[in-house]
């Protein structure tokens, strides 16, 4: 089992989610997060006062997938989250030891 954590532009989220559903991925956890990588923030001005806003809104998608779905998931995210501009986000991939479904205590890939 592999965990995919993708941090993407909020404006690309709907497209990514729809495409992931289309390739048969059914479960995901989504959170609205703030942060920045190399993309520095922006300046806001209120009544002549300038404010540096360096933490920008992003969407984080977390999924745990069986091995056979990992590659297509990554390709799908890359295809739909990319705008080509700085700030498009990152994908982190890691191994998962175990998964347990709380309702029936099923374990492993069957629990996903």
């Amino acid at each position: 089992m592999t965990r995919i954590e993708a941090i993407i532009q909020p404006s690309r989220f709907e497209a990514v989610k729809t495409a992931l559903h289309e390739i048969g991925i059914e479960g995901m956890t989504v959170s609205e997060v703030r942060g920045h990588g190399r993309q520095k923030g922006h300046t806001e001005t209120y009544r002549g006062r300038e404010y540096e806003v360096d933490l920008l809104p992003k969407v984080k998608i977390e999924m745990v997938l069986p091995y056979n779905l990992v590659d297509s998931a990554i390709q799908t995210i890359l295809k739909h989250a990319k705008t080509g501009k700085i700030g498009d986000g990152k994908i982190f991939i890691s191994k998962i030891d175990e998964a347990i479904r709380i309702r029936d205590e099923e374990r492993g890939e069957a629990a996903l």
Binding site: E44, T45, Y46, R47, G48, R49
Partner: protein
């Protein structure tokens, strides 16, 4: 030349009509002359009844507009000012800021009924009204002919009350995000009696020191409250901001508005409500109200262009907050002038106010280093002072022939009409308003500090006033 033809025909027709009318009137006079004494008496009765009906009709029209205006001015405080200020603070203080406006709607109303109306408009000396109308004694359906002869005194009373509510409300912008709720209640309650009531009486009350219409020593033109409302609150706001000190972390910590959207709605409500504030100050529904309505609207529009335009030039972007702040600055500046100037000077007053208030807020405040959280001084103090002085420049007898000679002939009003002395009178009004506001606020802040303490603790300020003062939060999207 069809124009000439039709004009000629028109004048011929008019002449014919005139002749016919004269003939009819002659007939009527002849019939009347032939009539008996009894018929004459009957006619006198009928005329008296007719006059009564005409007066009742005028009263109905005026009263309808004045009640509407009163409601509009209340709408300026809640929700107008509450939203405008509420959006400008950080989200942990949104409820507390709105509550300050709302609390004033409640307790100034009570105080107004008990003593306030009497102190402002009851017969008194040059500086303060007396106790004749304590507990609203004698304030009923009969008009108070000194102030507004065509509307019930109750209407006049409740209309003026709405001004007394919003004025301390404006000050709350200066001490937002750090004053205790109890301190705010004590301070604004005392301020209403010590600063507002004398100023209102001096400018608007019969025999008031600065009253231009009812025999004041220095006739100051203030149609809808430039000195009474805006200078008094704006200058007091500055005193509060300095006396209380800066918010924790100011100016290093970023404190951007949490919702310009809320402020936007508030500013639009303020703009609309201001028609009641200024046009309603005609205290009747006639042409003076129309003139004030138009001047008000034009000044607001020009001030939006002034503020947002100046910002555009200086920062490269016209901000929404700049546009709406500009509208409020223009409305403030036109307030004293609204019943005295024609539309073009109104544009000029608005434009000037938009630019000057922007510079005060964006450049002046940073240079002086005080923390007037929501710029109550920069907008109301500066805009009010500017408006009061410009009223002395642009006031014209064509709109409001207030000054008359012994024969009742209208005299020049403003500087441009050849009355430079008026600018001096305006300056006296401004200085007195500044003086009372500074001295009064300083003393009352000290008193309030001794009674309940002014500022919340550091922990409470960090936690936010919503939780620490009211035990609530403005936004809970998890519940």
């Amino acid at each position: 030349m069809p124009e000439t033809d039709s004009a000629g025909n028109g004048s011929n027709t008019n002449t014919r009509r005139c002749r016919r009318a004269v003939a009819m009137i002659s007939c009527l006079v002849a019939i009347l002359a032939l009539g008996t004494q009894g018929a004459l008496a009957q006619d006198a009765d009928r005329i008296a009844k007719l006059e009564q009906q005409v007066a009742a009709a005028q009263s109905a029209g005026d009263n309808a507009w004045m009640l509407t205006s009163a409601a509009l001015v209340l709408m300026m405080t809640g929700p107008g000012l509450a939203l405008f200020y509420g959006g400008l603070v950080r989200k942990r203080n949104v409820l507390a800021t709105m509550m300050q406006s709302f609390a004033l709607m409640a307790f100034i109303t009570v105080m107004w009924g008990l003593v306030g109306y009497s102190l402002c408009f009851g017969p008194g000396n040059s500086f303060i009204g007396g106790f004749d109308h304590l507990f609203l004694r004698g304030v009923g359906a009969e008009p108070n002919s000194t102030y507004a002869a065509t509307i019930p005194q109750q209407t006049f009373m409740v209309y003026q009350l709405m001004f007394a509510i919003i004025t301390p409300g404006l000050i709350t912008g200066a001490f937002a995000e750090r004053m205790k709720f109890s301190a705010m209640v004590v301070f604004t309650g005392l301020w209403f009696v010590v600063v507002y009531a004398p100023l209102a009486h001096m400018v608007w009350g019969q025999g008031g020191f600065l009253n231009a219409a009812l025999g004041g020593r220095f006739p100051t033109l203030d149609f809808a409250g430039g000195t009474v409302v805006h200078i008094s609150s704006g200058v007091s706001a500055l005193v509060c901001a300095i006396y209380l000190g800066k918010r924790l972390g100011y100016p290093k910590l970023a404190m951007p508005p949490h919702s310009v959207t809320l402020s936007f709605i508030g500013a639009c409500l303020l703009w609309v409500g201001w028609f009641g504030f200024n046009a309603g100050s005609a205290l009747s529904a006639g042409s003076l109200a129309s003139s004030a309505f138009v001047a008000t609207h034009f000044a607001a529009a020009a001030a939006v262009i002034g503020w947002a335009g100046a910002e555009w030039l200086r920062n490269g972007k016209p901000s929404v907050l700049g546009a709406i702040s500009g509208a409020v600055a223009g409305l403030v500046a036109i307030t004293p002038a609204s019943g005295f100037v024609t539309p073009m000077p109104a544009l000029l007053i608005g434009l000037t106010a938009g630019i000057v208030c922007y510079l005060m807020v964006a450049v002046g405040k940073a240079a002086f280093g005080y923390d007037d959280s929501l710029d109550a001084f920069g907008v109301h103090g500066v805009g009010g002072t500017l408006g009061a002085l410009l009223t002395g420049v642009f006031a014209t007898q064509a709109i409001n022939p207030l000054f008359k000679d012994a024969q009742g002939q209208p005299l020049p009003m403003g500087l441009l009409e050849g009355n430079p002395g008026q600018l001096g009178n305006q300056l006296v009004g401004v200085l007195i308003a500044w003086g009372i506001a500074i001295v009064g606020s300083l003393i009352l802040l000290k008193v309030t500090d001794l009674l309940v303490g002014l500022r919340v603790t550091q922990e409470e300020e960090i936690q936010g006033l919503d939780l620490s003062q009211h035990g609530e939060v403005g936004y809970d999207f998890e519940s």
